[in-house]
């Protein structure tokens, strides 16, 4: 179980304190499968880092029962100077494993990451997909009570995604997940409840559908993950046209996402 008690987190900026969470209180039950939603920069990664214990709130308390993984993201947990093998052994050592217990884990990670000869090369030469495979393999090689996963679905090919899906199914039977993602389909398939971070406020929703609905309401993103064309967008287009020198033709229309439509919706990224 993880309990947040009146947690406030801010970052000092040149224009004053930037709050990512204000007085947030929530209790995440053991084995919960939670999706975390929020715009880019809303504080999802900060929340994940605090839940994992690699960052601390400015005020309030986070109380954790049981073991919690390090935040698993695109590149976190993989040290660039070390090879894949050394990264795996490092993780084994900090988990307090003895030398004879490391080899099965190294073999598992090598087989899961499936990056061939790169496993014995420094991680600085890896692509982001290879790093994600390695980082994911290392994390999943250990049993935690909670896994913290931060927008990992953005990388990796279909083989990796299928492997990740399989291992998620296996792990979720005995562990909880807190997972930040912008992919509604993925969150609906894998999470039972949700957290929405908006304007430094944290909302906990008992079902993931309610969480997505709240996120859609706050951000204007459509239910399928696309940003709605708003009045503000239209205003910006008008302003751009007004700034264009007289007589200059408008730039050619961009490739549309949906053929046959003059103005397609903007794909939500990140």
């Amino acid at each position: 179980m993880i309990r947040l008690e009146k947690v406030t987190k801010y970052y000092p900026t040149s224009s004053g304190l930037h709050y990512v969470l204000r007085n947030a209180s929530v209790e995440i039950p053991a084995r919960a499968q939670i999706g975390v939603l929020g715009r880019n920069g809303s504080g999802k990664s900060t929340l994940m880092r605090m839940l994992a214990g690699v960052d601390v709130p400015n005020q309030g308390r986070i109380i954790k029962w049981g073991s919690i993984s390090w935040p698993l993201g695109i590149a976190s947990g993989v040290q660039a100077q070390m090879t894949g093998r050394e990264n795996t052994r490092f993780a084994c050592r900090i988990q307090g494993l003895h030398s004879d217990e490391m080899e099965p884990i190294v073999d598992y990670v090598q087989s899961f990451a499936d990056i061939g000869k790169f496993f014995d090369m420094p991680a600085r030469v890896y692509s982001s997909g290879m790093r994600a495979r390695l980082g994911f393999g290392i994390t999943m090689a250990f049993d935690f009570d909670f896994y913290i996963i931060d927008e990992l679905s953005a990388v990796g090919d279909s083989t990796f995604k299928n492997k990740a899906k399989e291992i998620f199914q296996e792990k979720r039977l005995k562990a909880g997940f807190v997972r930040a993602s912008h992919n509604f389909k993925e969150l609906r398939a894998e999470c039972s409840s949700g957290i929405v971070i908006h304007d430094a406020k944290l909302e906990y929703w008992p079902t993931i559908d309610e969480a997505i609905e709240s996120y859609v309401r706050h951000t204007g993103v459509s239910d399928d993950g696309e940003v709605k064309r708003t009045a503000r967008n239209a205003k910006l287009t008008k302003q751009k046209a007004a700034l264009r020198p007289a007589g200059e033709a408008a730039p050619p229309a961009r490739q549309k996402h949906r053929p046959g439509r003059a103005t397609g919706p903007v794909q939500q990224t990140g």
Binding site: G53, V56, I63, K64, Q81, R93, Q95
Partner: protein
């Protein structure tokens, strides 16, 4: 405003032994990692650690030979110089190598098991082990080559002096590592300030040959005190009248205390500053 906290409860409570075990595992892991990385990135890096004491000893001995003296206070220069250099290098390398331990290992703080003090401890242990092994090798090679050896009248006291020097050096390294994370000019400035220390600590020239009024000022330098006592206990080389081990131990304790306080006071800020 009260600082927020993260509390981990496992098997009914927090356990000091578990915390200690965690720290030993993490420090061991960082030592292994750092040694491997150094080995791979630059073979010369490890080699340099080994030859540095030798280069120092040969350079300083050459200066002595230039002044046409082969003995200091009646002791062969190749005993007097290497003993001083060995003790001095402990302080020098903790100032230059350990102070970047936190900033240089920031990525490791992505693991909740790793606390900012762990890389400082690990790199201090690795650096000091390498420095001491290298110094011992250098001393043995040089003494074997010129067929001389010190008498080692009080080896335990000599080791005790080195142990207190290590404690004080760790305190300085921890202080600089903590504040160097917030103010990047601090380690650079300290390296600059450290440069004249070799001349002010009686490594190159014997302080005993200086006038009393200058010696009284120099005696405030704790490194000089440690070097004087180390030479005395290791080879029976007479100390300056101002030598005071109590003062040196007091300074080392204060430095260690300040280092620990600085870390404790900033332990959350170090994590938040990333």
């Amino acid at each position: 405003m009260r600082q927020g906290t993260v509390i981990t409860v496992q098997d009914g409570g927090q356990d000091l032994i578990r915390g200690l075990k965690r720290q030993v595992s993490v420090v061991t892991a960082i030592i292994f990692k750092d040694f491997k990385v150094r080995q791979r990135t630059s073979k010369f890096g490890i080699f340099y650690v080994l030859i540095e004491p030798m280069v120092y000893i040969l350079a300083i001995s050459s200066i002595r030979f230039l002044f046409r003296s082969t003995s200091v206070d009646g002791i062969h220069v190749l005993i007097w110089v290497p003993l001083g250099v060995s003790a001095y290098l402990i302080f020098k390398r903790s100032i230059t190598k350990v102070t970047s331990a936190i900033t240089g290992n920031e990525g490791l703080l992505d693991f909740p098991q790793v606390k900012p003090i762990d890389p400082v401890i690990a790199i201090f242990i690795l650096e000091m082990a390498l420095t001491m092994v290298a110094s011992c090798l250098a001393l043995l090679i040089i003494w074997w080559f010129v067929d001389i050896s010190p008498s080692f009248p009080r080896p335990l006291e000599a080791m005790g002096v080195i142990a207190v020097l290590l404690a004080g050096s760790f305190g300085v390294a921890l202080l600089l590592a903590v504040y160097g994370t917030f103010y990047e000019n601090i380690p650079r400035t300290m390296r600059f300030i450290n440069r004249p220390m070799i001349f002010l600590s009686g490594v190159v020239f014997p302080v005993s040959s200086l006038p009393t009024n200058i010696r009284e000022y120099l005696a405030w330098n704790p490194i000089l005190q440690f070097i004087e006592h180390f030479r005395y206990y290791a080879a029976g080389i007479p100390m300056i009248p101002e030598a005071d081990l109590g003062y040196a131990c007091f300074v080392a304790s204060v430095l260690l205390g300040l280092g620990v306080i600085a870390y404790y006071a900033n332990r959350y800020r170090l994590v938040q500053s990333r």
